[in-house]
C-alpha cells in the first residue's frame, strides 16, 4: 500500500507513455491528451504551493527561535504575503493589480537582474588571480577562450581572421566535444528514467 502501489502506478504510467510514443493511432491519444497532459499541471498547482508553505514554515521557525539573522526572515514573510495579496486580491479587485505590477517591475526585476551581475566582478577577479595555464589542457582551454572572446573585436585587418577562427572553434571542435557530452547526457537521462520506471531507483519515494 505504501510502496507497492506507487511503484505500480509509476510503472504503468511510464510504460503507457513509452508505448504511446510509437503508436500514432487516435485511440492511444485519449489517455495521453485528456489525462497525461492535462492533469499534472493541475496537480502541479498544489505541489508547487508546497514550496511556498515550506518557505513560510522555515521563516516562522527562524523568527520563533530567534536564530541568527531572524529579522530578515520577517522581510521574506512580508514580501511573500504582500505580493500574494496584491496578486490574488488584485485579480478580483483590479486597482490592487497596479500595486502588483509596480512591485514586480520595481522590486523583483531590479533585484533579480542585479544578483547575477555580481558574477561579472567575480570573473574579472578570478581572471586576474586564478585562471592559470597550469597544464597543457588548461593552456588549450585558455587559448581557445581568448580567441572566442575576441571574436567581435574591431581589430582592423585581423577582424576576419579572428572571426573565422572562432567560427571554426564553435562549429568544429566545440561541436564535436558537445556532441560527445550530449550523447553521454542523453544515455544518462534515459538510464535514470528507466530506473525510475522499472522501480530500480526508489530514493524519490523517501523512507517509510
Amino acid at each position: 500500500m505504501k510502496r507497492q502501489f506507487p511503484l505500480i502506478i509509476i510503472f504503468s504510467c511510464g510504460l503507457f507513455m513509452v508505448v504511446q510514443y510509437f503508436v500514432p493511432h487516435e485511440k492511444s491519444e485519449f489517455f495521453y491528451e485528456f489525462i497525461a497532459l492535462d492533469w499534472p499541471p493541475i496537480i502541479g498547482v498544489f505541489a508547487l504551493m508546497l514550496g511556498v508553505i515550506s518557505l513560510t514554515r522555515v521563516s516562522i521557525t527562524r523568527i520563533r527561535r530567534k536564530t541568527e539573522a531572524w529579522r530578515y526572515s520577517i522581510v521574506t514573510l512580508i514580501g511573500l504575503f504582500v505580493m500574494s495579496a496584491f496578486g490574488v486580491i488584485g485579480h478580483h479587485y483590479p486597482p490592487l493589480s497596479t500595486a502588483f505590477d509596480w512591485s514586480f517591475n520595481n522590486i523583483m526585476i531590479p533585484i533579480s537582474a542585479t544578483m547575477f551581475s555580481l558574477l561579472a566582478f567575480f570573473i574579472a577577479s578570478a581572471a586576474y588571480r586564478a585562471f592559470r595555464a597550469r597544464s597543457v589542457l588548461a593552456s588549450i582551454l585558455l587559448v581557445a577562450a581568448i580567441i572566442v572572446m575576441m571574436r567581435f573585436f574591431p581589430l582592423g585587418p585581423l577582424t576576419s581572421v579572428v572571426g573565422k577562427t572562432s567560427d571554426w572553434i564553435l562549429n568544429v571542435p566545440n561541436l564535436a566535444a558537445k556532441r560527445a557530452i550530449l550523447i553521454g547526457v542523453g544515455l544518462g537521462i534515459v538510464s535514470t528514467a528507466m530506473k525510475v520506471v522499472l522501480g530500480i531507483e526508489r530514493s524519490y519515494l523517501g523512507k517509510d
Binding site: F22, I181, G188, S203
Partner: protein, 442 residues
C-alpha cells in the same frame, strides 16, 4: 380577403426561405461562393493556365488519421510557359454540409455543440485550401473532434481535384483523384530505430545492474583523479593543515551529489587514518545529515571513532552567495591545505576556486555541470569532468546500481561508436543503400 392572406403567406414564406438560404450560404459555403464567383466570372480576359498534372493523394502515413498528403506536378504555366498561375485551389468531396436546423436524409450526420446539424453530402466540392503558385505538395489535416468545424472523418472516401487559378481569374481543372480514405496507424514505422535503441539499452542496463548486484567483478579503469586524492591528503598531513570538502549546491538525490558522498567516504577514511582535520560545510540540511553519517561511518571503518567530531560537518545557509562567502572565510582563516569541490556547482564555482588558489591550497574539483567545468579546469589542480565524477564514485564505492548503469552506458557508447564508424565509412564511400539506414523518418 382570403386570397390576400394567401398571397401574403406565400410572399412571406418565399421571403423567409430566401433569407434563410442566403444566410446559410453565407455562413457555410463561403468557400463555395469562391468557386461560384470563379464560374460566373469566366469572362475570358486571358486564357486559363494549363491544369496541374499527376495529382496523387494518399492517406498520410504514421499519423492518427484525419489527414491526406497531396502531391502533383505544377502547371506548365507555373514558373514557365505563360507564367500566369496565381494560386492553386484544392477541392475535396464529399463534404460535411451544414449547419442545418434539423437532420436531413439518411447519410451520416451529427449535431455540434451549438446545436446545429451537419451531414455528409456527395458531389459537393469543398475548397479546403488556396495555396500560392509554385507549390507541389499539400497536407490536408482535418480535426479529429466531431464537434469541430474542421472535422475530417476517417474511413470515408474523399475525392480531390485542384484548380489552377490564373492571374486573370480564369481557372482550369485537374483530373479528379480518388476516392481515398484516411486512417490512423497502430505503429509508427519511422521510429523503429528508437524502439530498438530503447530495448537494447534497457536490456543492457537490467543485465549489468543484476550482474553488479550478484557481486560480479565489473572492471572500471582507475582515474588519475583518484590518485591525486590520496596525494593531496598526504600533503595536508605533512603541512598539518585541514582539508575542506564542499559537496556543492545539489539536492541529496542528484547523481552528482550521491557520487560525491561516496568520494567523501573515501576521503574521510584516509583523513581518519592520517589524523588530519576535515571540514565539511553544507548548503542543504538533508545533505548535511547524510554527510555526517558518511563521515562517521568512515571513521568507524578506519577504527578511529574517538576522533570523530560532529562539528566537522555543519550546515551553513541555503543561500548561494552567502554560502560562498562563508566557505571563503573558512579557507582564508584556516589556511586549508587541500580543497575538494565535488558535486553540483553553479556560478559559485569560480569564486570558490579563486579563493582556494589564492590561499595556496591544492584543489580537486568535479561536477557534471558542463558550464562550470571550464572554470574548474583553469583554477584547480585536478578536475573530474562530467561522467568521470560518476565513474570515480562507482570505482571507489562499487555500489551496484551506479556501477551497473555506468557499465551499461559504456557498452551502449561502444555500440554507438561502432555504428557511427560504419555509417561514416559508408558516407565517405557514398553507399546510399547503407547510409539510408542512418536516418529517422519521423
Amino acid at each position: 380577403m382570403r386570397t390576400t392572406h394567401c398571397w401574403i403567406c406565400i410572399a412571406a414564406t418565399v421571403f423567409i426561405c430566401c433569407v434563410l438560404s442566403l444566410s446559410a450560404a453565407a455562413q457555410v459555403d463561403e468557400p463555395h461562393s469562391d468557386t461560384l464567383i470563379v464560374d460566373s466570372t469566366t469572362i475570358i480576359v486571358e486564357p486559363p493556365p494549363a491544369p496541374i498534372s499527376n495529382l496523387q493523394v494518399v492517406d498520410l502515413p504514421n499519423d492518427h488519421g484525419h489527414a491526406f498528403h497531396l502531391t502533383w506536378n505544377i502547371s506548365a504555366d507555373d514558373l514557365g510557359g505563360r507564367n500566369n498561375v496565381l494560386q492553386y485551389r484544392i477541392l475535396r468531396t464529399p463534404g460535411w454540409a451544414g449547419p442545418l436546423t434539423e437532420p436531413q436524409g439518411d447519410g451520416p450526420q451529427w449535431r455540434n455543440e451549438q446545436g446545429t446539424w451537419w451531414h455528409l453530402v456527395e458531389g459537393v466540392w469543398d475548397t479546403i485550401a488556396s495555396i500560392p503558385a509554385g507549390t507541389a505538395e499539400y497536407f490536408n489535416r482535418g480535426g479529429k473532434a466531431r464537434e469541430g468545424n474542421d472535422y475530417s472523418p476517417d474511413d470515408v472516401g474523399f475525392s480531390f481535384k485542384i484548380l489552377s487559378v490564373g492571374t486573370g481569374g480564369a481557372v482550369s481543372e485537374s483530373a479528379i483523384f480518388g476516392p481515398v480514405e484516411s486512417s490512423g496507424q497502430w505503429y509508427h514505422t519511422g521510429k523503429t530505430w528508437v524502439v530498438l535503441a530503447v530495448l537494447i539499452f534497457g536490456g543492457l542496463m537490467l543485465t549489468m545492474v543484476r550482474l553488479a548486484r550478484g557481486g560480479r567483478e565489473l572492471y572500471i579503469r582507475p582515474l588519475a583523479g583518484i590518485n591525486a586524492v590520496d596525494e593531496a591528503i598526504g600533503r595536508a598531513t605533512e603541512m598539518g593543515r585541514p582539508i575542506l570538502y564542499v559537496l556543492g549546491l545539489g539536492a541529496p538525490d542528484e547523481i552528482a551529489t550521491i557520487a560525491s558522498f561516496t568520494i567523501l567516504s573515501r576521503v574521510a577514511k584516509k583523513v581518519a587514518e592520517y589524523q588530519t582535520e576535515l571540514i565539511v560545510p553544507c548548503y542543504d540540511s538533508i545533505v548535511m545529515t547524510i554527510a555526517q553519517e558518511t563521515v562517521k561511518q568512515a571513521y568507524i571503518d578506519a577504527g578511529r571513532v574517538d576522533d570523530y567530531n560532529e562539528d566537522m560537518v555543519y550546515f551553513v545557509t541555503q543561500n548561494q552567495f552567502a554560502y560562498v562567502a562563508a566557505v571563503n572565510g573558512v579557507m582564508l582563516r584556516r589556511q586549508t591545505a587541500t580543497n575538494f569541490y565535488l558535486g553540483v556547482f553553479y556560478a559559485e564555482s569560480l569564486i570558490l576556486a579563486e579563493t582556494g588558489s589564492l590561499a595556496g591550497s591544492i584543489q580537486i574539483s568535479g561536477t557534471d555541470r558542463v558550464t562550470q567545468l571550464p572554470f574548474f579546469v583553469v583554477a584547480c589542480d585536478y578536475t573530474l569532468i562530467g561522467e568521470e565524477l560518476y565513474a570515480a564514485s562507482a570505482y571507489l564505492g562499487r555500489e551496484p546500481i551506479l556501477l551497473g548503469t555506468l557499465k551499461a552506458q559504456d557498452y551502449a557508447k561502444a555500440l554507438l561508436l561502432v555504428a557511427m564508424v560504419i555509417g561514416v565509412i559508408a558516407g565517405i564511400l557514398n553507399l546510399g543503400w547503407l547510409t539510408d539506414y542512418f536516418a529517422l523518418n519521423i
